[in-house]
Symmetry: C2
């Protein structure tokens, strides 16, 4: 079993942190996104949309999408749950995980892709859209700041996959100068605790 990974990209980092939190050892194979190695015919057989990460099982079965890979390991190793146990916990975590992904992680990603031109060989960057996405991401930090006034973690009282997604998004946000503001004391407190976890180095 192995995971096709890119050490510098924010999405595969989510899986690395998730597995570190679960205490699951993994073989990682580095794929160079800048060189487009993820778009090769071989990688396209593993994941039709040519994205990283991809989990490859020993029988050759492949699973793409960081959320799907995390779900696989959560189902296989339910101890130390990061996606909830009761129906309400599962749904609450899924809600925050999704909103943080749509409103923060993806907005920062769009801001980077559309303003930097990093992937301009394989997409059409539209700078104005990148700028609007960055503004949306910054605004959403206010939603999270408010959320953390009465909650220790994004989905409530327990550390979950939603915290991992937010942490990876905020760290990646630095490349487009999207940062937690000085007045966002709850986000700062939460971020510092995330950053102290050993998994943050995964």
């Amino acid at each position: 079993m192995k995971i096709y990974d890119t050490k510098t990209a924010p999405t595969p980092r989510r899986v690395r942190i998730f597995l570190a939190e679960k205490g699951i050892e993994m073989e990682y194979v580095q794929v160079d996104l800048a060189k487009g190695e993820n778009m090769s015919p071989e990688m396209r057989t593993k994941n039709p949309i040519g994205k990283i990460p991809v989990l490859e099982l020993d029988d050759g079965t492949c699973i793409g999408e960081s959320d799907a890979i995390c779900l696989y390991f959560e189902a296989l190793h339910p101890q130390n749950p990061l996606m909830g146990t009761t129906p309400l916990e599962k749904a609450t975590i899924a809600m925050w995980q999704r909103q943080i992904e749509l409103c923060l992680f993806n907005q920062i990603g769009m801001c980077f892709q559309h303003t930097s031109g990093y992937f301009k060989d394989r997409m059409t960057p539209i700078a104005e859209f990148g700028k609007v996405s960055g503004i949306s991401a910054s605004k959403y930090l206010n939603v999270l700041e408010k959320r953390l006034v009465d909650n220790e973690f994004m989905a409530g009282t327990s550390f979950s996959i939603a915290d991992i997604t937010a942490f990876c998004a905020i760290d990646f946000g630095k490349v487009v100068d999207i940062r937690i503001g000085d007045s966002q004391v709850n986000l700062t407190r939460w971020y510092d605790k995330m950053n102290e976890r050993p998994s943050a180095r995964a």
Copy 2:
């Protein structure tokens, strides 16, 4: 228990079809997106990002995001599974569900929002981005056509939430003239079967 719903919008339709497939009765409260009723202070207390659908439990607890609402009912009523039972089934369905959402559903949504100006009172439409999103969506139909050559359903041999997401995306695609092509015989066969299911009328 009730769901805040908008009968004409593609996202809440995913939940209605999911619940119809599970045989779960539900009270639906209509919210007018065009009038911005979803953005009212009251609705914002139910869902901080003001999106529909929202599930409200009898104790007032609210869950946003269609995926999270479906997960709640899947966990509560595991019979007739639509999100898989084994770790591999769960992960495979989650992978296709996610890719169909990112590469089709959301691209069609962006195409509609950025080219129609429907929500221009609450977002910045960028026509060029809308056009690019529509092209991405059309291209992804080729991925699904290929997928269905050897698979009856999107995630393999069983009907799942991934089929619901694809079906709602393709139906909504008509408003921006994104349609299954005449040469896409597998997608056509799959679509016709989806459309024959009683849940398609939910």
